[in-house]
């Protein structure tokens, strides 16, 4: 089932939807239609696509500050995602969260997080809760390479191994944490070794090769479903853009970025699909459809209403919120 052209076309389509979503968002940010910081994951689409194609809706996911791709691949509606980036009432969080805090519980997406490593203990607890309820679903937790030096990484991995929880930890390793090369900040024989030292089996994969990601995830997910134990995937990729949309990434060399473009995941899969007999026209059609979908999503977001002033005061808490409104 896995090594088929239709499956690869689906991966191709998912990657294009993510790319088109983020390019549309970047454009909207430049046009000052979106406020605040925006972290895009252009170049990293293979991780989201290869991961989520192996998940069921009931499987849960926690994500980080660079999570548009994760959320979209998990099945969220790009219209409501973009509306959230716009701060509109029809956005997933009614405009309260913005880019860094998108959640869609209806598709198992338990939320992006503005605090580095913040999602790790949450994912572990979600898995513990599912186990308690006797539910078969597993939990996936995506974090960046910068997160591995925070305490919650160590505590969460140890915990998941200790209590034998069905968690797939995924480190989306783009080589940098904000503006710093992670290699200069992370000691020891590597992150897979770290995971293993805490009792979580793991492996590395070329995170720009979506077929390889798909295969690795399938294997790990199968192992988790069979044993109920955690696993770890280390996916090496590259962030083609700066840390935020206002960071021109002048701190790294253009040669580096140019050479990285050669191995970005969408072009790579396209080349493979052409070799396998797909036509240029069909592949271009997938790109075009994705762009159209996201342009429509943008029109939806632009037309969506702003939250009302009183919406600022809703959803704080059930009891005791009224008394101190003003």
């Amino acid at each position: 089932m896995r090594n088929t052209v239709p499956r690869r076309l689906e991966l191709f389509r998912t990657m294009w939807r993510i790319r088109a979503f983020e390019e549309e968002a970047l454009d909207a940010h430049r046009a000052q239609e979106i406020a605040g910081p925006l972290h895009v994951s252009i170049g990293q689409e293979a991780v989201s696509a290869g991961l989520c194609i192996n998940l069921e809706t009931a499987d849960r996911l926690t994500s980080n500050h660079r999570g548009h791709g994760h959320v979209l691949a998990k099945g969220a509606d790009p219209k409501r995602m973009l509306a959230e980036l716009y701060g509109r009432a029809d956005g997933y969080c009614g405009g309260k969260g913005g880019s860094m805090h998108i959640a869609d519980f209806s598709v198992g997406m338990l939320g992006a997080n503005g605090v580095v490593a913040g999602g790790i203990p949450i994912a572990v607890g979600a898995a513990q809760g599912l186990k308690l309820l006797g539910e078969k679903a597993l939990v996936v937790c995506i974090f960046g390479d910068g997160a591995v030096n925070r305490g919650p990484f160590l505590e969460g991995f140890n915990w998941a191994a200790l209590f034998r929880l069905p968690v797939l930890f995924v480190c989306e390793d783009n080589g940098v944490a904000a503006f710093t090369q992670t290699a200069t900040m992370t000691a020891g024989p590597g992150i897979v070794a770290r995971a293993q030292s805490m009792g979580v089996e793991g492996r590395s994969v070329d995170g720009n090769d979506v077929v390889a990601v798909d295969e690795a995830v399938a294997e790990l997910v199968e192992a988790i479903r069979a044993t109920g134990e955690p696993r770890f995937l280390h996916a090496q990729t590259y962030r083609l853009m700066g840390h935020t949309s206002t960071d021109a990434a002048a701190w790294r060399s253009q040669e580096e970025v140019q050479s990285a473009r050669q191995s970005e995941p969408i072009g790579r899969l396209r080349a493979l699909l052409l070799e396998e007999g797909c036509s240029e026209r069909d592949l271009d059609g997938i790109e075009r459809a994705a762009r159209q979908e996201m342009q429509e999503a943008r029109r939806f977001a632009q037309a969506a209403p702003w939250p009302l002033p009183e919406d600022a005061f809703s959803d704080v808490q059930d009891i005791g919120a009224e008394a101190w409104r003003r």
């Binding site: 605040g36 913005g98 997160a147 503006f179 900040m185 992370t186 939250p307």
Partner: protein, 339 residues
Amino acid sequence: MAQVEADARAVEAASVSFVEAARLAALQEMRRDHRVWVLGEDVARGGLFGQYGGFLDEFGPDRICSTPISESTIMGAGLGAALVGTRPIIEMRIFDFAMCAMDELVNQIAKIRYMFGGQAKPAVVVRMPFGIWRNSAAQHSQMLEAWFAHLPGVIVATPSTPQDEAGLLVSAIRCDDPVIMFEPKLLFTDKAPVADPIEPIPFGEASHLRHGNHLTIVTWSSMVPRCREAAEELQAKGVEADLIDLRTIWPWDRFAVCNSVARTRRLLVVHEAVSAAGFGAEIVAHVTETLGPGALRAVRRLGAPRVPVPFSPAIESEITISRDRIVQVALDVAGKAAA
């Protein structure tokens, strides 16, 4: 005479931004004392806001130390380094991430001197850029300075101008107590002259920005410029406000506030943070206790409603305090209906 000279120099000095003023202060102190050093994420690259630009070239990576994203260890290691006689500046990048290092700050730094009977000298400066800025949502916008005023063992600085930021940072670096510097992101690009050399500003001395008899407005940090504008508008409406910028909320200048309120008998406290259980409550309580409830003819606190900071510009503006709100509430406190 010395004051006049200092003022003349300040006027001559070029205007610099809030961030640049802090950079100059840290630079001056690191040149003066080789034990002063900085640790935090991305600091060797100049810091998130450029507050350490050029430091790497001058001081090298041992004194401007970029760290992993490890907030608890940044905070705890700063303490450890202070215990052996260095004077660390702990950079928290953005205040909200200090939440990841609360144990180190609250259970260790703030208590260690007391618990060990005075043997420990936790001479750290913790720099915390804080507050609302650019629609950054609930995890990047918090103003929880009141928590720290509540915490025995620490000094809490809340400057509002480049000169005050610089002077308080110099004091903080020279001080043997732990000092938490709350730096308002909202004012980071504000410019004003800063004297050279930068003289330390004592903690607990407010600056008296305007003199008036109709009401006392007490404020600090990001709300200072808005209160200034409000006071100007009030003047145009015939209301003279006595305007006090506390500059530090622990210790805070009780005398300046009580003296003023004893005269005006009307008090308004304005802060960007949530009003409920905010530091304004402490000020009102202290003034009432000191002057007696009969001394006050009107009292109000103006702060944010008790909600997290939302992302959407449409509702973020709803919970921020505008100049118009300040004017409106001040008129009320002064006993005049809005014109």
